[in-house]
């Protein structure tokens, strides 16, 4: 019987070969067409008529991989003692293992205040995702800092702005799974931010987003 070990992108496969026409005794190293290295380590025991058996060994949970996600949706913000409605775009890049994910998140939001003034928000900060529940539901949290800008109507093209600092909690549900870890998801969350100089010092934002995680 021959035992062949080969390493694909994420999984170590042990292939027990029952039928070996010619004994393999050399150590071979080659490359897949997609660029991943495949190492074969063979032990020749002899020829027999045993069936093929494939045993998959999961990669180490501590092994880090790239993590990224992009999402877009609508945002409802309460600031300056009034409602603000807008759209938001988020991009997140970092690292993940089999349980946790974390990285940096950039969020851009733009919309209109109830009073008619246009506003934009730009925030940046660290984010952290907990292990998935039932393989589909994820909870996350993060910190964010940035600025809120309000367009002036008295002088078109100029803005008033102030710094905001806060934290957020998120929940994401996978709608469609793509590949071993990717998918299309629906996300929502709530964030509270302190404004350094504004008529009311706190703003709260929530919303709903659709996103993609490769």
């Amino acid at each position: 019987m021959s035992v062949v070990k080969f390493v694909s992108k994420n999984t170590i496969h042990w292939l027990l070969l029952g039928i070996v026409q010619s004994p393999i005794s050399a150590y071979a190293l080659s490359a897949n067409p997609d660029g991943t290295t495949v190492a074969t380590d063979s032990i020749s025991v002899g020829s027999s008529a045993e069936p093929l058996t494939v045993v998959e060994v999961e990669p180490s949970p501590s092994r880090a991989r790239w993590f990224g996600r992009v999402s877009a949706g609508f945002a409802y913000r309460w600031a300056f003692r009034e409602s603000l409605l807008g759209g938001a775009l988020e991009a997140e890049l970092g690292a993940q293992n089999n349980r946790f994910a974390g990285g940096g998140r950039l969020r851009v939001e733009a919309g209109q205040m109830q009073s008619g003034l246009l506003y934009q928000v730009l925030t940046l900060g660290p984010s952290f995702w907990l292990p998935a529940i039932a393989d589909r539901l994820r909870f996350g949290m993060g910190l964010e800092t940035g600025a809120i800008l309000v367009d002036r109507r008295s002088v078109p093209g100029s803005v008033m702005w102030t710094v905001l600092v806060g934290g957020r909690v998120d929940v994401a549900v996978d709608l469609v799974r793509i590949g071993p870890r990717g998918g299309l998801f629906f996300a929502t969350g709530v964030s509270a931010q302190a404004l350094t100089e504004a008529p009311f010092p706190v703003t709260i934002v929530t919303g709903a987003m659709l996103g993609y995680r490769p």
Binding site: F80, A147, S154, V155, P156, M160, T196, E197, A198
Partner: protein, 126 residues
Amino acid sequence: MLLAMKVQSTGSRLHSLRRLWRFPVAVLSLLGLLADGGISGDELLCEQATVSLKSCCPELGDVSYSCVRSGCGGQLVPELDVDRSTCLRSKSCEELQALGVCNPATWEVPASCASSPCTSKVPKCQ
């Protein structure tokens, strides 16, 4: 021993990296706070009143007053003061038109110009 040296080297490199990013983050945060223009209540009210004014009086072009608050101790203040801005925001379009707000010829010199000459004019509102 080699492994211990490697771990120690990696640890000190991580420590150095942590120290490296702290400095620019601290400087950027400080600069951000120092440069914070801030949004004051009277500025926001003035801009909101301007929205009402422009939506009710589309024939009005650029307004001649300023809503900016700036300078040390707020030397420059919005020419539409809080009372006037609140009054303008509380009126309907019909009421604003009846008050003559849409006609710049009826506008008056703002209270902030009492001490120094200026060319700005603001709509009346009672």
